[in-house]
Amino acid sequence: MPRVVVDVMLKPEILDPQGQAVANALPRLGVNDVASVRIGRRIEIDFTGEPDLDRAREIADKLLANPVIEDFTVRLVETDEAAEARS
């Protein structure tokens, strides 16, 4: 059964101090060619029946993302792909 994945990111104009802190730590790993890092959130939703993208969008808009500061995208992935992405 396909799974719905919601990606939530801070809007480009909103400062991401967490991402900046990670970017600032990279030179300590010897990484000096990263211009910026931004951190978001990935949410995986399994419906009891067929995945419903409209319903997922509604969930994302009302709860998962705050449209004042965040954008979100909704997409379907095959569950084996989702498992692979995590491995």
Partner: protein, 227 residues
């Protein structure tokens, strides 16, 4: 008759006890409200206290906004019920769209805990009518996600409509846009404030008694308001 001021407890609320105490010291009767009960018990005003409702999961205040008590509260606030959101309460009011904008991670990423000078700029609200315009007060601030953000049009509207209730003076503790520490809705009955007036109501425990003014203001507002 003594005014009855509700204080909501969510799972993870931290300052509900202090908020109830501040209500009592101001001369009103605190009424403890439970997040899971869709019932305001006929209170005259409500305080949403500080803390970490629902463990700050997802975003601060995002899950608390859907608590059963909030349905009633959102309706009542629309009808003019005075509501004060402190710290996490401010975050909940923004998530509930009772106030514009959002509160994000402090710009420097550090939790800030200190006594903070604020300038009170809007004295027409239900919660600030005992202050003088421009009055400076000393109130503890303690937050990790207190950086107020909104789009420029919203910020301009807040300024133009006199809805910036208080600003940080002598250093901005969290990077809030335009040094905003507190805002109100158009009607002036809903106020969100990041610092903690309930921690500045007694000489023994607070840096001043300045916080008491927020709680005596709502009593004055209730007396002046038509029954």
């Amino acid at each position: 008759m003594t005014a009855r001021v509700g204080v909501v407890t969510f799972p993870g609320s931290l300052d509900d006890g202090d908020a109830a105490r501040a209500v009592r010291i101001a001369g009103a009767e605190p009424v403890r409200l439970w997040h899971g009960e869709a019932e305001l018990h006929g209170v005259d005003a409500v305080v949403l206290p500080g803390g970490f409702s629902y463990g700050d999961y997802l975003r601060c205040g995002a899950i608390a906004r859907f608590a059963p008590v909030m349905e009633k509260l959102i309706d009542a606030a629309g009808g003019g019920l005075p509501v004060l959101g402190i710290c996490n309460g401010f975050q909940i009011l923004c998530e509930a769209h009772l106030l514009p904008g959002a509160l994000t991670r402090n710009q420097h990423l550090h939790f800030r805990n200190r006594d903070q000078i604020l300038r009170i700029e809007a004295t027409g609200t239900a919660w600030t009518n005992t202050f003088q315009p421009g009055q400076e007060v000393l109130i503890p601030v303690k937050n990790g996600e207190g950086c107020y953000v909104a789009d420029p049009a919203t910020l301009d509207a807040l300024e133009a409509e006199g809805r910036v209730v208080a600003r940080y003076v002598g250093g901005n503790p969290n990077g809030s846009q335009r040094d905003i520490a507190a805002i109100t809705n158009q009607a002036g009955n809903v106020v969100g404030i990041m610092p903690h007036p309930e921690h500045a109501v007694e000489a023994l425990t607070g840096p001043s008694l300045d916080g008491l003014g927020f709680f005596t203001s709502v009593l004055k507002h209730l007396v002046g308001a038509p029954a």
